[in-house]
Amino acid sequence: MSEPKGRGAAWTEERGTSDEGRRRLTAPRRRAEDTAIADELRHVLAGATGRSELLRITLDTPLFGTAVALDSLTGTLLLREVRHRFGVDVAREDLNLDALATLGTLAAFVSQRTPLTAGSG
């Protein structure tokens, strides 16, 4: 994958230092982070498959279905990148890989396991 893990870090920094971010309560901030996680996952998917149209998929798009057509190769790349960027080992925690049902389920799975952005509270 060509894109380094910097994207996530840059985003956190932005979010962490903005005044708006500081004023937010936990719940809305969590929702905003979910959106950002989903966005980052779209980039990872586009990188793993080489298909830029995946940058526009909705949260309810199935990952194994025809639209994304995740297979063992692209799936392995996706899981590896999720581990590097978010420190979440989906394969270890989720035997059936149910987290990979849709973009939204994967984003939620990652979000539940990542601490809220440091420095914004």
């Binding site: 498959t49 080489g50 298909r51 194994f64 057509a69 995740l70 297979d71 063992s72 190769l73 692209t74 799936g75 392995t76 899981l79 394969a91 270890r92 035997l95 059936n96 890989l97 990979l100």
Partner: protein, 358 residues
């Protein structure tokens, strides 16, 4: 079935690729300091390269030199290198990249370097790598991890197949369409067939070498495979793969247990990681499900070792609609992935030929 347990990586498991340093290791001297002359190959090391190559072990280079040095080393040693990392990064990073390019675990690498600092760096960053001095290497080639049991036709062609794989990956990167379109465009042919006696050595070798796509997590002896081929209500299947880039030969296989007519069990499902991303495992799972359904089985199950290494296999199973249920008999280290056969399965793509047709 009788199986011999393989250690989980680390010392003892088979080395698939040896990564060589150049200066004062493969070459007698220091490349940049000898210019405009260039140091000759070390004849003892060149001998090891050839010896290991005949056993199906491939070679790569990790060197703090410009990339011309790798080309020169290939010419000087007369040996083919499947990957070369030249630059000034830490060697552990070079080894990790080589493993990624070859799609093998870093634990399947050995590393030979005359510099004790480099050996220590790699040894501490990647504890699964067999780290050797050039003197150790001469002796180590007789260790079991450098001595695969049988050397098959596929093994002898391995270096060449890795090269062709690289050409295919380059072509795929440039190809605009979907993966399926790419597979079609390069005339992919997957052939599923009942195993014959002459397939036994390669099937045994696959059962030893595969980890990312190996449901059993254990090697199956040649005798066991031979016995299964003749057993009633069992099938041993082979999967062959070729396209316009290469004929990869026998890349996968499975054992089917049909003694329980309603629930077919697949005690071993395996595929070479070279065949990853080429539709092979999906074709095999589809064929299995369709064959079981045709003979009125209600479910198909694949008992699977739970490890970090066979995640690609779990992805293939999840993508084909298999679900895990706890395997009481085998304890926590395993899970049985099961698929109900009530819903009709899609037909096999037309590039797959298999018994029973599509």
């Amino acid at each position: 079935m009788s199986v011999s347990r393989l250690p989980e990586g680390g010392a003892g498991s088979l080395v698939k690729c040896v990564v060589w340093d150049l200066d004062n290791t493969l070459l007698r001297g220091i490349y940049l300091e000898s210019l405009p002359q260039r140091p000759p190959a070390d004849p003892a090391m060149a001998g090891l390269l050839a010896k290991l190559g005949k056993r199906g072990i491939v070679h790569a280079i990790a060197s703090k030199n410009p990339s011309e040095a790798a080309e020169y080393a290939a010419q000087a040693t007369g040996c083919e290198f499947v990957a070369a990392e030249c630059g000034w990064d830490r060697k552990s990073q070079s080894l990790a990249r080589i493993a990624a390019v070859l799609n093998i675990s870093v634990d399947a690498l050995a590393f030979v370097d005359d510099d004790p600092y480099e050996r220590a760096e790699v040894g501490s960053a990647l504890p699964g790598v067999r780290v050797l001095s050039p003197e150790d290497a001469a002796e180590a080639v007789d260790w079991p991890e450098f001595s695969p049991a049988g050397v098959t036709a596929e093994a002898r062609r391995r270096a060449d197949l890795y090269q062709r794989r690289r050409h295919r990956l380059d072509a795929e990167r440039e190809f605009g369409g979907s993966r399926e379109e790419f597979l079609r465009a390069c005339a992919t042919q997957v052939t599923i067939a009942a195993a014959q006696d002459e397939d036994v050595p390669r099937l045994h070798e696959l059962s030893e070498r595969t980890s990312q796509f190996n449901s059993a997590g254990e090697a199956l002896s040649a005798e066991s495979i031979r016995a299964l081929i003749g057993s009633p209500a069992r099938d041993v299947m082979t999967v062959r793969l070729q396209d316009c880039f290469a004929d990869d030969g026998l890349v996968g296989g499975c054992v089917i247990d049909r003694r329980h007519v309603r629930v077919w069990t697949v005690p071993l499902l395996m595929m070479s990681c070279r065949a990853m991303g080429r539709g092979v495992i999906d074709a095999l799972l589809t064929w299995l499900a369709r064959s079981a359904a045709r003979q009125r089985a209600a479910a198909l199950q694949v008992p699977c070792a739970r490890s970090d290494r066979n995640v690609p296999l779990r992805l293939a199973l999840a993508s084909a609609g298999f679900r895990a249920c706890a395997d009481q008999a085998a304890g926590g280290g395993r899970a049985v992935f099961r698929c109900e056969l009530g819903v009709p399965w899609p037909a096999l793509p037309d590039w797959v030929s298999a018994p029973g047709g599509s």
